[in-house]
Symmetry: C2
Subunit: 225 residues, 2 copies
DNA sequence: AACAAATCATGATTAATATCATATTTTAAT
DNA sequence: ATTAAAATATGATATTAATCATGATTTGTT
């Protein structure tokens, strides 16, 4: 099993602020896990015993609405941490995590993380910054949900995925999502998401290669009202 | 000017985790301010030089949407801190803060807060918890915005205000908001907010005393679909 | 290869909400 | 007190998106 001290993934999250010693200790008690596409990493309402460091793959964080529909609140990709919020507030998770493709994660026990948070101010400040950034993003999502049309939100989601999660060699979005997932990000009916994507395709804003989506006219998407 | 060490307000926020010494130091460099109803505390895009501790009054945090409408993202009341997020991420504020009534706040310079965050792990863990809680609330708002009707969102906003900000002696909501503010919380047109509130009144779910709103049938509001 | 199940697609209809228009009432200013 | 401006209210209409219905296509399974 590879060692945290040498793992390059941590460069992308707050674990980079841990000392060598702390990393060695974490490495000793962490467990690596492979998670299959579609598998649940943790459930909404579940008490987490630690955080996950995503070494590879992507997952979605969803919340079940009272009307029975799932809403995707955030996507977490390689390099990011999963579950800090619940660990910090010492509450059951408010979100469910589901793998969108095959994943590789390291699980770090809660006690270890909490100890480091209380001992290493640099680490805790880094986690604080992460959370501040998540909060800012959440504010943006709230405003978009409240004020923009489904067309706009879907266009912006495509742009967001393009800019934040990158593209494959052929230019298609690296993340493969079902139409239902898109609907669940945007907060609309699946049929509506399908309709809007079809329209984008007709208008030459996007194209599809198999199930993959490619943005053909980024500026056009940005101009959607 | 009153001293932070003796101020009871801090019991309600993370400043309570500061040591006596730290509080004395903060007390020495803080400034008290009175803010009139409607006054802007800070603008979206403004660099904050510190955080505000709200001693009295209520303010709204809004974000301007691209379509020119303001969205209320959060309300901050007596006892809470204002501006931590921006200070921590060292970015311009993503939100504008406007007083909803006359306020009294203490301004604590950024350098002081940052120093304490880096020195006092208990304080920084407390701020972390605050932020985690804000993030959880933001997730809930996202899901509500995405999945619920205007009627539901407005009903829930009334309940939220009732439960979190309390009522006056006559049972009316302690916070006085314009119909435009309600629209801006729910993310709808002002006319729509007015219409829904009128309907709630006709249905006996709420009543109004002057401009104040009183919840008459809490369970009825909760049952709104 | 054959089949079932899931996903994607599109049309028709309905429901929710935005927008525009216009009163009425309340608040603020002179 | 009078007037202007802002906030509240309500109707009519237009737009957006949800829902219901039905097929086509893709994917996974035996």
């Amino acid at each position: 099993m590879s060692k945290c001290e040498q793992c390059i993934i941590k460069q992308f999250n707050s674990l980079k602020s841990l000392t060598k010693d702390e990393l060695v200790r974490i490495s000793a008690c962490k467990t690596s896990k492979k998670i299959k596409k579609g598998e649940v990493i943790f459930e909404e309402g579940e008490m987490l015993n630690g955080v996950y460091c995503v070494r590879d793959g992507i997952c979605k964080l969803t919340k079940l609405s009272e009307n029975g529909k799932d809403q995707i609140v955030k996507m977490v990709v390689k390099g990011q941490l999963l579950g800090q919020r619940s660990i910090i507030s010492d509450e059951a998770s408010n979100l469910q995590a589901i793998a969108l493709n095959d994943m590789e994660v390291c699980f770090i026990p809660k006690s270890e993380i909490i100890a480091d948070l209380q001992k290493n101010p640099k680490f805790s400040f880094d986690v604080l910054k992460d959370m501040a950034s998540d909060l800012r993003e959440a504010d943006d999502v709230i405003v978009n949900m409240a004020q923009k049309s489904v067309r706009q939100r879907l266009a912006e989601s495509l742009i967001y995925i393009h800019e934040n999660f990158g593209v494959n060699p052929d230019g298609t979005l690296s993340i493969l999502l079902s139409r239902e997932d898109y609907a669940s990000i945007v907060g609309t009916a699946t049929e509506s998401a399908i309709r809007v994507l079809s329209q984008f395709k007709k208008d030459g804003l996007i194209s599809t290669i198999g199930k993959f989506i490619k943005i053909e006219d980024l500026n056009g998407l940005k101009r959607i009202e």
